[in-house]
Amino acid sequence: MADAGVELIAVTKRYGGTVTAVDAVDLRIPSGSYCCLIGPSGCGKTSTLRMIAGHETATAGDILIGARNVTELPPAERGTAMMFQSYALFPHLTCLDNVAFSLRMRGVEKTERRRKAAEMLARVHLDEMAERRPAQLSGGQQQRVALARALINNPSVLLLDEPLSALDPFLRGKMREELKRLQRDLGITFVHVTHAQDEALALADLVVVMERGKIVQSDAPRAVFEQPRTQFVARFMGGHNILECRRTADGAWHMRDGSPIIIDTAEAAASLRLAVRTDRMRLMPPPELPNRLHGAVTAVEYHGPFVRVALQDKAGDDHSLLLSEQDFYARPVALGDQVVAGFSPADAHLLAN
């Protein structure tokens, strides 16, 4: 397969001259990888996807697919295919005709295009539904038709706009697996826009976190989760407590509620922020976890395999602990209890702002 990496060079999108949706974004998505663009709504992830697709023109910058500059090309000449959030299936056409639509636009002869479309439908296990209208299908089936329609032209890049957001949680898990399998089998580049952290972490080879039109971090999923670059990434990806620390005159570090904290850093600044994974904190900590938080339990949530305990320290900051069910029930705590939580200095990750 030809090189089908996607490269964005200083790509900017402004609406109406004032609103900057995407602000000079640089990004390299390797050929054949699964990339997830993630961020809160309005962060520019969908605009970025739509510019790659050609449904939005870039105000400035260049978009490369493989070795071609596609910035000025119409959608159909980019070798991309888009799967729309609402699937955008043609309601007046049968599933087969939906899948065959782009072949029809290319002037492929009728029996040939129907044969190819039937093959593609079989690939997504919908061959019996060929003559049905989209309205007669379930959400999951509609989505598979949309997938078949996007793949019929053998695109080198598949663009997916929140493809799983309309499905119920069970189906979402199944489709997630199917998407990943398909991407591996086809070996093409997938660019997937989502606002669900679990989706991005589970699917992507490359997670790109966006905030206010800019990329704040682009890394492998594990790196994004373990080493969030900024406070925003740590908060958005979840699973972290953020601790603000201040250096006192004697050179020792303290948290906002005044408790001392040991930090492995050569940081010269007088204050810094740490991210500590919620699952790395322990209640009633052993001596090898010297950093301590003191607070009152404000919530206990049972989640099955784990229990989340929320506590508030004297400074009014909220913290979460994710304890395994076993650990929690060995020494349970109740609402209002004064508790001590501890973590190792090695588990404290320094944030850039």
Binding site: P75, F90, R149
Partner: protein, 305 residues
């Protein structure tokens, strides 16, 4: 409610009677609720039509109506050459006006729905289409006369520009004028339903078509036109029924030179030939119902209603 009734009733028998009465009343309630609709439909639709149908079988002698059952009115109506010619001419008007209003209505609706981006402008332009309809039909028709007349604006301008040396006669009091007036009067009835259907088309469908390589014309042909069909057929029903039943426009704009079914009936009524006018009305009703049925056979509009 029911508990107060039970405690208030002194004996078991009285209690049952009250409950039975309430139950009968409750079963009757839905019919009572639909009564206003039945009254309106009955008074304004069923009784008038029944009267027309009944009168169409009556006889008229001199200036008296004779309630009887004869088929002469229908025989006369259907065997007359004039009737057939009039129907033909009316249907011809309907077809021409339908084609013109559909073409204009679709274009206007398409422009409003897909090319006007801001909702504000959409509303402003839409109102612009609708405002002429706040004046009476007759006024809107009459205002064509100084425009199209022998010494009207158009002819004066053409003569002044030396494009013609004598006034064009076909402009006014002609089939052309009739069609023009109809198109002017009824295009909005096409624009509104088509615009309505177009606004419901998911814009992502247009993008999906473009993504699949469709050019602007293909998008129109394969996506927008098929999805606007329900609106087009509703507009068609409006325009066709309005033109089929019209008599004022034809009379005024043709200068009395063109016939229409409505005009035929109007003339009979002015001669006090109510039974034969009623027979014509029934024939027209059946014709129009058949046309509507045919339109509904082509396009299913149920999901639009």
């Amino acid at each position: 409610m029911s508990s107060t009734v039970i405690t208030a009733a002194p004996t078991g028998a009285a209690d049952d009677r009250v409950k039975g009465g309430r139950r009968r009343f409750a079963a009757f309630l839905p019919y009572l609720q639909s009564l206003p609709l039945w009254l309106v439909m009955g008074v304004f639709l069923l009784i008038p039509i029944a009267t027309i149908v009944a009168v169409s079988f009556w006889d008229d002698q001199e200036y008296a109506l004779v309630p009887t059952f004869i088929l002469d009115n229908y025989r006369d109506a259907l065997s007359s050459r004039v009737t057939w010619d009039t129907y033909l001419s009316t249907i011809r008007y309907a077809v021409i006006v339908w084609a013109a209003t559909l073409a204009i209505g679709f274009t206007v609706a398409y422009f409003l729905a897909f090319h006007v981006r801001s909702t504000l402008w959409q509303m402003v332009l839409f109102q612009l289409c609708a405002i002429p309809f706040l004046t009476s039909n007759i006024i809107r028709m009459i205002s064509w006369i100084p425009f199209l007349g022998r010494n009207g604006l158009i002819n004066q301008t053409l003569i002044d520009l030396h494009l013609t040396d004598h006034p064009l006669e076909f402009l006014l009091f002609s089939p052309f004028a009739v069609v023009l007036a109809f198109v002017h009067l009824y295009t909005l009835f096409m624009v509104v339903p088509i615009f309505n259907t177009m606004m419901r088309i998911d814009r992502a469908l247009v993008e999906a078509a473009r993504d699949a390589g469709a050019g602007p014309l293909s998008v129109l042909r394969h996506v927008i036109v098929p999805l606007s069909l329900p609106g087009m057929s509703i507009g068609t029903i409006f325009v066709v029924t309005l033109v089929m039943g019209d008599f004022v426009t034809v009379q005024m704009m043709s200068g009395g030179q063109s016939a229409s079914v409505g005009l035929l009936m109007k003339n009979e009524i002015s001669l006090l030939q109510y039974p034969s006018a009623a027979a014509h009305a029934v024939v027209l009703l059946v014709t129009v119902l058949l046309m509507v049925w045919a339109i509904l056979r082509v396009v299913d509009i149920r999901k639009e209603l």
